[in-house]
């Protein structure tokens, strides 16, 4: 890890950037280094968790559950697990960084600077996206060692992973601004992010659910992100990926607009 840290530091220091964009770039750089410095907790741990899910569920359900034609259950499971980890880690990055900075009081170092609310938003958002994608990519690379995962529509994979991590990164910023204590943040994690992740079709197709729960699943934004992302691999989905794409994009725009309004007003950041 120290070698990788030095490599990342050197890479970032070598990057030249116009003074105009140096402020938000510095904040992004700080946010990236922050999660990288504790990479065992922020990258390795979620990768191991996802692989444990994969090991257990594939061992128990392989050969018993067939979701898509010609797609073994273990292979079906992998994109869902990747996307779930991308989403959870994107949320965790922005939310934990903000709540820690607020509780420790060091957010003041950013609030005293000439950074605009848009620059603040972009830096935290990009860091969240990058952490989500790094975790997702690591799970993908490790899983590739065990199974053959087809890729039918690579651009759909890219689009859904970017939009999904951006959506949850934005939601993480809202949670980080709103929460004043760590237990308030745990409410978001345990009562919103976890249930929505597990009830989104990561481990099953919603067609296997009774009609009522199928309708309920359609209210879950995580379902569209995971279903669309999975379409990128298998070319099959529970609903049209274009509908999913539109819903995810609209949700992101709405959430981003709300976050920018919060940041501009100084809600809970400036009295």
């Amino acid at each position: 890890m120290p070698v990788l840290n030095k490599l990342l530091d050197a890479l970032m220091s070598a990057t030249t950037i116009s003074p105009k964009y140096r402020g938000p770039w510095t904040l992004l750089k700080k946010e990236l280094l922050r999660f990288w410095r504790v990479g065992f907790q922020t990258v390795a741990a979620p990768v191991i968790t996802a692989l444990l899910y994969l090991l257990i569920f594939s061992h128990v359900l392989e050969g018993r559950v067939q979701v898509y034609q010609d797609v073994p259950y273990t292979v079906f499971l992998i994109p869902g697990l990747i996307m779930m980890s991308v989403l959870q880690n994107a949320f965790a990055n922005s939310s934990s960084s903000l709540i820690q900075s607020k509780v420790m009081g060091n957010l003041i170092f950013v609030l005293l600077t000439p950074l605009t609310h848009l620059q603040f938003f972009c830096a935290f958002l990009c860091a969240a996206i990058i952490r989500g994608l790094v975790v997702g990519l690591c799970i993908y690379l490790v899983a590739m060692g065990f199974v053959d995962l087809p890729i039918s529509h690579p651009w759909m994979i890219v689009a859904f992973s970017l939009l999904g991590s951006a959506l949850l990164g934005t939601f993480g910023i809202i949670a980080g601004i709103w929460a004043d204590r760590f237990d308030q943040m745990a409410v978001f994690q345990n009562f919103i992010i976890m249930p929505l992740s597990f009830l989104s079709g990561v481990f099953y197709s919603i067609h296997s659910l009774p009609p009522f729960w199928q309708s309920v699943s359609h209210l879950n934004p995580f379902f569209y992100m995971i279903d669309g992302f999975r379409y990128g691999f298998f070319g099959q989905a529970d609903i049209s990926p274009w509908i999913s794409l539109c819903i995810v994009t609209a949700s992101l725009l709405l959430l981003a607009w709300s976050t920018l309004k919060m940041l501009k007003s100084g809600y809970k950041l400036r009295a």
Binding site: P114, R270, A271
Partner: protein, 300 residues
Amino acid sequence: MTTAIRINRIHKHFGALHALKGIDLSIEEGEFFALLGPNGAGKSTLINILAGLIKPSSGDISVLDFDVVEQFRQARQLLGIVPQELVFDPFFNVREMLRFQAGYFGRGPENDAWVDEILVGLGLADKANTNMRKLSGGMKRRALIAQALAHKPPVIVLDEPTAGVDVELRQTMWAFIKKLNREGHTIILTTHYLEEAETLCNRIGMMKQGELVALDSTANLLNKFAGKKLSLTLGEVGLPEAIRPMLRAQEKGVHTFALTDMGQIEFVLSSLRTANIPVVDMQLQEADLEDVFLSLVGKE
């Protein structure tokens, strides 16, 4: 001379509390200015409005003619603020924090020489690569000051920078801050150590319950409000009624009287003679800022 900070009829309400009651104040470029007052006087609220951390209810503040609300980007570029709380980011070392802080203000590698100068000036050079978490309280305070200076701001606000730090740090820090002031930086200081304000600052503003109750040069304040102090060792005695209003302090039989003119010395001594109270020892001292402070804001 340009005005570094112009505060114009600033009011701040926190619900029913009227924290700032129409403060008007101008601080000129190059000044070493002290803002004093008891806890709850509104100093930190005023500084937080200047920093953009609190929005004023009405009125405006500008830094070198840039409004801190409307032109916050330009105003904050010109300001370096040392917060009162001892806060730090536990993920990074001192040098990284200073580089980040300069980077937020658009400063890149060309600023590294200045970062080195700050590290040396504040006695942090040997701790440059130490994680913030591992620094002692005094070192953390130095790092906090260094962070405020990282982008080389022309106006520096130090909100109780020496609270809880040792004499050595204070001396190192003040030597560096005085050097910055000589180079043209405007310094605004809030402190509870009144002797620091008296020694360092050319001008002093005193706040009480959200209002500015005094604003003058340090010398004028000392002359105008304090005069001299007469300390008489009398033992545990009852003082004559006529001189009781002049009594400022009484400890272990030493009675200290505040004098507005020298003629009062004879008045005090004759009152004691009349009351048959012998004077064991006598000392005449120049009054200090603490006397001014007490006479203006110390008595509720």
